[in-house]
């Protein structure tokens, strides 16, 4: 696996973790990870942007049903 792929996977895992109920300590640890290196932040931003992009899927699904 390339280091970029590993980083992207890690960022996506962190993003998914933050979608759920997260203990403050865990949230803090993820924020520390993002802040540690701009490469982490960029990978995290990609994951979050992709998620936000699909916000409208719910509306489309509602229109279909």
């Amino acid at each position: 696996l390339s280091s970029q792929l590993v980083l992207d996977e890690q960022a996506a895992r962190h993003f998914v973790t933050l979608l759920g109920d997260v203990e403050p300590a865990q949230r803090h640890a993820i924020e520390q990870w993002i802040s540690l290196d701009p490469r982490h932040a960029v990978a995290f931003a990609w994951a979050r942007s992709a998620w936000q992009l699909t916000e409208g899927l719910r509306d489309i699904d509602g229109q279909k049903s």
Binding site: D8, R13, V16, A41, V42, A45, A47, A50, L53, G56
Partner: protein, 187 residues
């Protein structure tokens, strides 16, 4: 934490949407796709790390300027500064194009196609969480998986979606410029 949230929000709003335009421009200037990826990645990292990010009025111009500086540094290191290269760098610096690639509606439609083509369990987990708003625990029960496995599938779906979106943005910019066929990955 406030700075982190604000910086991420700025980056996602003012920088990332222009990466497709930059990638499309770089393709005509940089010799191999691997180099394009390297320059683009380094550009995004430097943009995110900017000390004065909150004072940057035009994210696209800022990002293009960073890319230009990276290319100039690389050319100097390799001793390959030609007249053509200088002209390319000037055009990159002066890029005033306003293309934004795809509309929000097009992006969503393409994102839907990417999701349709995700590995089966990844796609199912993603739709249950994102569209039907089931919790990870509910999805785990429904699919007979552990929550940890559900998280892995969802993370993989998010990662694959992000990669697909990046490619589609680039295609959108090129389509706007020249009118090209839809990329295979977006079908």
């Amino acid at each position: 934490v406030i700075d982190l949230d604000e910086r991420l929000a700025w980056f996602e709003t003012d920088i990332l949407p222009h990466q497709g335009a930059l990638r499309a421009r770089l393709k005509g200037m940089v010799s191999s796709i691997a180099d394009v990826d390297d320059v683009l990645s380094e550009t995004l990292v430097r943009a995110y790390a900017a000390d004065d990010w909150s004072a940057i009025a035009n994210g696209k111009h800022y990002m293009f300027r960073i890319a230009r500086n990276i290319l100039i540094d690389a050319a100097r290191r390799n001793g390959i500064v030609s007249f053509g290269f200088v002209a390319d760098m000037e055009s990159l610096q002066e890029d005033r194009s306003t293309e934004m690639g795809l509309s929000a509606r097009d992006r969503l439609r393409h994102a839907g196609r990417i999701i349709d083509n995700l590995p089966l369990q990844c796609g199912r987990v993603f739709v249950l969480r994102r569209v039907h708003e089931h919790s990870l625990g509910e999805i785990a029960v429904e699919m007979g998986l552990s929550i940890s496995t559900v998280e892995k599938h969802l993370a993989r779906a998010v990662m694959l979606l992000a990669k697909g979106v990046a490619e589609i943005e680039e295609w959108g910019v090129e389509r706007e410029r020249r009118g090209v066929e839809q990329p295979v990955g977006a079908r």
